[in-house]
Symmetry: C2
């Protein structure tokens, strides 16, 4: 009945500081004392950060780190245009959507210009979790179904409802009856015809749900399967799965919280990359370059159906400061040509990583799109065997060499490469050099 019961530690714990250990570091003790069991500090030796700019973060001890991990400061850490917009609006007016404020609708108009025409309503929230929580309820209301199909190492957020469909957050929890997790769209699982294989997995999941008495509400997937280990190719493979969920009466929710806003280079959104039409779209992380904001886009009739039952109001969602931040991010993306840079620098980076793979047998795959790339690492004796322990070693060596990177995937053995979109060729080269050095330390 349960596919992920065997997960011992969620992915986010793999590179975490062991909080059960006492620490002689005052800042570490203070943090553990404050956040307790909810504390997730990166690295065996956590880093105290003090400043950041562009693709770089600087620690309290003066060390500088090239940031290949954080996908929130997408147009670059502390971007002056975003800071200016937030400060200006915050000094003028910060309120809620119960009043009209022009910048809020200016932003919604600009955002909708990036979305399919059919998704004409946008609900602003504070977090991707809130956006997915709302999308799941709308899918249930519209489809009449209760079941959800997600991928095995998916992460969609932290609310009660969304945690149920986020197996990568599970420690000893189990998937509830109404959720079926299918393998991520990897050629290792589905062979060369990923489109058909993945669609068949969706079909099988619909059957499993039916056996448990559930009709499907939605197929909910991150468009680049970020937490599953980054799966983008071949572009278009999602269409068959979307057709399958539609035939079964469910909706397709495109979770763009990680892939959205130009990171994939070839497209602004992951669903656009695949050329598919989502029924609902959720977005978040890079939306305000760090200002807390997120959103869900819906067909007006779907949102209206949901609002028949309960109202929806979000105190901070859609405040004018968030709108100003979001508008600044869209302008910077456009003016600095960051989506093009994600494509060009991302393509160049993938080439370099493929060269590295040719030299290092423990790199078993390089894949992705734009500046969202996954690099699989395998065991020394049998590289086809994913090696999470080695991956953590590499991550910590990279840290020591001044590069921040994390892991993803069911086995936590995929390096998740996702620097700010303003990455230069020179910075990409520094990353490749550092990774090459880390791989040759053995």
């Amino acid at each position: 009945m349960n596919q992920t019961d065997t997960a011992v530690r969620p992915i986010l714990d793999m590179n975490a500081f062991d909080a059960t250990q006492a620490s002689s570091n005052h800042q570490v003790s203070r943090r553990l004392n404050n956040l307790g069991a909810a504390s997730v500090l990166f690295y065996r030796q956590p880093i105290e950060m003090v400043t950041a700019q562009g693709c770089w973060m600087t620690a309290a001890d003066g060390s500088r780190y090239l940031d290949f991990y954080n996908n929130v400061p997408s147009v670059g850490h502390c971007h002056p245009k975003v800071i200016e917009a937030v400060t200006e609006q915050m000094s003028r007016l910060n309120t809620n959507t119960r009043y009209l404020v022009a910048v809020v609708d200016d932003y919604l108009d600009a955002l909708k210009a990036k979305l399919p025409d059919a998704l004409a309503n946008v609900v602003m929230t504070c977090s991707g979790s809130e956006a997915n929580d709302l999308a799941m309820r709308i899918a249930r209301k519209v489809s009449g179904g209760t079941g959800f199909i997600v991928t095995e190492a998916a992460y969609h957020g932290n609310t009660a409802l969304v945690t149920e469909v986020s197996p990568s957050a599970f420690r000893h929890a189990s998937l509830p009856d109404h959720v079926v997790a299918i393998p991520a769209p990897s050629a290792l699982v589905y062979g060369n015809d990923i489109a058909t294989g993945f669609a068949n997995a969706v079909r099988a999941a619909v059957k499993t749900l039916a056996q448990r008495g559930h009709r499907p509400a939605a197929l909910l997937v991150d468009s680049i399967f970020s937490s599953d280990g980054v799966f983008a190719q071949p572009a278009g493979f999602l269409q068959a799965a979307v057709d399958t969920i539609h035939q079964a009466g469910g909706l397709y929710i495109a979770d763009e919280v990680q892939p959205g806003f130009g990171r994939l280079g070839d497209a602004f959104w992951g669903f656009d990359y695949h050329g598919v039409q989502p029924d609902l779209v959720t977005m978040g992380k890079p939306m305000g370059n760090g200002f807390p904001m997120a959103a869900m886009a819906s067909r007006p009739e779907y949102l209206a159906a949901f609002c028949e039952d309960t109202g929806y109001f979000n105190t901070f969602g859609g405040n004018p400061v968030a709108a100003a931040a979001g508008l600044a991010v869209l302008k910077v993306l456009e003016q600095q040509g960051l989506q093009h840079n994600a494509r060009d620098t991302g393509y160049w980076l993938q080439q370099q990583l493929n060269q590295l793979a040719a030299e290092h047998h423990r790199i078993t795959d390089v894949r992705g799109s734009g500046l969202f790339i996954g690099v699989d690492l395998g065991a020394e004796d049998d590289p086809t065997r994913p090696d999470p322990v080695y991956t953590v070693q590499i991550i910590n060596r990279m840290r020591d060499a001044g590069v921040l990177i994390g892991a993803a995937g069911k086995h936590a053995a995929t390096l998740k490469v996702r620097p700010p979109l303003c990455l230069t060729r020179n910075e990409a080269q520094q990353f490749v050099d550092a990774l090459s050095a880390a791989l040759t330390t053995d």
Copy 2:
């Protein structure tokens, strides 16, 4: 089985612009086009706001409004100290809690100094909804129960789980089986011994839950029962209810999202006002004076029990900019003596409102603490009958006179008085004068 099925419109709709009507106002059309059914614009003639300062908001047409509604900009709209702190930190570093950042722990230390010692862990979130969502799950894990007891017109947030315990958000939705709503602690319901009456209602709810096969997870109440219509007196009445839920094996979650951070004047938190010890505390709205942030405080062992099942990480929660905003709010509250002002100006304001009640028979009750006051309005022929239509009239007359105010309560016939805490005696007088004029327009 269901106590609130008869609710026709949620409280938040009572004073809403009728979105089914066409509007000749361009900004209104744009908003309806963007937010669709989720749009909740105040007033029959919505207001376009452009700036705000202290207790005042200014509209696009130049009209100025004295803000007696918004409890988020608690230390005053666009407070320069908060703007300065946000701008400074945003220009330096904005990241997540996977790294150490000193200001985050500076804030958590300062916040914990305001909380009971036992609640030594604080999880930062983006919204009060996320905080309550987490608190409810912790209560279930710790108690082993599944049921929740809330008040009839409660509002605790907008996630799937939290909406279940927020009857005031219901249009045609029903309370689920595991939620029992009890009448708010009003003397009209419980007579003079509110403590015993309210505790008895909790006891009866525990029985109802048992009959449905549920053990209680928690009594979840807003410490001043904001959405129920503001019930504060007599201080201490909550203790018997808290004892009752403890005896039944459930936790007491203090929802401080609205009453917290000094608004009650006599105490920093609503539970302190009552002198009771909560098991979990949630907070939000005024915490960052508009910067999106919220939190949940827990005993370390409770949080640890929850984290055994799933990890908890919040991308934007606990970011250093939020921490800087929160720290600035605590400093301003202290330096400007705003809790004392809430007490003194609030006490004076209550006196004036009681005088007004002596002159106007349709004011049937004035109650509250500090700058959180409820004013009941009744029908002309029988003032004991709550009059929501009249209340909306008064609210719209106040709008036309340049004062912003909203309604609360099961019958939506209670004026909810909650201006920024920097309110001056002169501004309080202006409010009283405007209300007096609105009441004599008939």
